[in-house]
């Protein structure tokens, strides 16, 4: 029994900082798919709304992240377009003015980062459901691949999460135009997902029947990222 205890202790010591190695890591990633399924089918509700706050409750700061070396910026905002393509009946090519002319949603919600921090901020923009109505996805389109001009950063989303009433393409933050640090000119936002799922610096949304990966998702972060 002492031998077992010593063996266990040795194994534990060897396990320090261990991601599971060649044998267990793939199993952990496979199991993460099960958690994605549970997150999508058991916990996620297409109608339940995240708690909203009073603008006066906004946090003093909200950190911003991008993967490029410098803050990604569009040279000519007038020339910027959001491309909507893939398995859709009506591909779209939308300017910021066109997006701003669409029905507008705004809310003050808590932002949850996978790291464990949170911050309250206000966001305004176009519900993704409005875009979906206009581009009319073909049957079989189950996912959207949101792509950015931030060094190829992207996120794959399930259609149900994208259609949630609080999932928006935000062009504004805290009553101001979206700042470059937070994804100007357009970013994905939703209080139903962790921050790393909320693609900044958007350039396209592509409807597909194959589950798209994502920058962090491909490195082992949970794909669904729902909260």
């Amino acid at each position: 029994m002492r031998l077992v205890a010593a063996g266990g202790a040795a194994a534990l010591t060897a396990a320090c900082g261990w991601d599971g190695g060649r044998l267990i890591r793939p199993a952990l990633l496979d199991w993460s798919r099960v958690n994605d399924w549970v997150g999508e089918k058991v916990f996620f509700s297409p109608t339940r709304l995240a708690r909203t706050y009073d603008p006066g409750e906004r946090s003093a700061m909200l950190p911003s992240y991008f993967i490029s070396d410098m803050t990604p910026m569009v040279r000519d905002p007038e020339a910027w377009r959001l491309r909507v393509d893939g398995m859709v009946a009506q591909p779209l090519d939308l300017s910021l003015h066109e997006l701003m002319a669409m029905p507008r949603a705004s809310y003050t919600v808590k932002h949850h980062c996978v790291e464990g921090w949170s911050a309250i901020a206000s966001w305004h923009g176009v519900p993704v459901s409005t875009i979906v109505e206009r581009c009319r996805p073909r049957p079989g389109a189950r996912f959207i691949d949101f792509a950015s001009f931030d060094a190829g950063y992207s996120n794959g989303w399930d259609l149900a999460s994208a259609l949630h009433p609080q999932t928006i393409l935000a062009y504004g933050m805290n009553d101001n135009p979206l700042p470059p640090a937070h994804g100007a000119p357009l970013r994905l936002y939703s209080p139903t997902k962790l921050g790393y799922k909320l693609t900044k610096y958007l350039v396209s949304m592509t409807f597909t029947d194959k589950r798209p990966g994502g920058y962090w998702e491909d490195q082992g972060y949970p794909w669904f990222g729902g909260i």
Binding site: C16, W18, L28, L62, K110, H112, G116, I120, P191, G220
Partner: protein, 250 residues
């Protein structure tokens, strides 16, 4: 001289091994040891990504561990994503074994011997008096003394709270009511974190007491059979009758 052999019956009857722990209890006990160690180690790695409690910009909940980086050996997962995948995988068997154990407690009726009830309060006072040497003889007890009942009931409550605060942190939007119940996302993180140290404290006390008071109980938790006599000054009121009865019941 023709001495007849000594009578076969010893004067003091040998203590016959008694059946103490059902296999479900032993299985769930040791599975919990391993799984909880994995949950805590991956949890410490997760903690490192944001080692404080409060919205960005504050205010922050008071904690002496703000900004603490835990020693390398105590962390599991290598980085945040690896730790999350361990944490979200181990949570399933941990909850499953926990539910199996609770189901066994209810089904077998053993919860009666374990659950701390208001009527155990006077007995608790007597046990504390005994341990503080204000009382010489060991108070009469059943399978567990009232202090043990308090500890084991407390650790079950702790387990339930660990799962609930974990869910509150895991799905603060979908389970918003639960998160609100714990005072919000950051407060739920805070409780989830502090529960760990209560578990650690319980485990340390538990291990010390096993070896100091009743080392034979370790073998009982492994094999199911209890063969020891607890090291106690008491002269007999306390007995192992409970376990003989329990043995017959099975």
């Amino acid at each position: 001289m023709s001495d007849s052999p000594a009578p076969a019956t010893p004067v003091v009857p040998a203590r016959t091994p008694v059946r103490r722990h059902h296999w479900i209890v032993r299985l769930t006990h040791w599975a919990t040891v391993v799984l909880l160690a994995g949950m805590i180690a991956s949890g410490l790695q997760i903690y490192e990504a944001y080692a404080r409690f409060g919205n960005r910009g504050g205010p922050f909940l008071p904690s002496p561990f703000d900004g603490t980086q835990w020693p390398h050996w105590s962390r599991l997962g290598g980085w945040l994503a690896g730790a999350l995948n361990w944490h979200f995988a181990l949570m399933w068997p941990l909850v499953t074994f926990g539910l199996l154990y609770l189901a066994y407690l209810v089904k077998s009726g053993e919860w009666r011997a374990l659950l701390f009830m208001p009527r155990d309060v006077p007995g608790t006072v007597q046990m504390v008096r005994y341990y503080l040497r204000l009382r010489r003889d060991h108070p009469h007890q059943g399978k567990h003394n009232p202090l043990q009942k308090l500890a084991y009931t407390g650790v079950i409550v702790l387990g339930v709270l660990a799962v609930l605060t974990g869910l509150a942190v895991y799905k603060p939007t979908q389970l918003g009511w639960l998160t609100a119940l714990f005072g919000g996302f950051q407060a739920a993180r805070y409780w989830h974190f502090w529960i760990v140290w209560l578990f650690v404290g319980f485990t340390i006390a538990h291990i010390i007491l096993v070896f100091v008071v009743d080392p034979a109980s370790l073998r009982a938790m492994l094999t199911g059979w209890y063969r020891g006599t607890p090291r106690r000054k008491s002269t007999g009121v306390r007995s192992c009758d409970w376990s003989r009865q329990a043995g017959r019941r099975r």
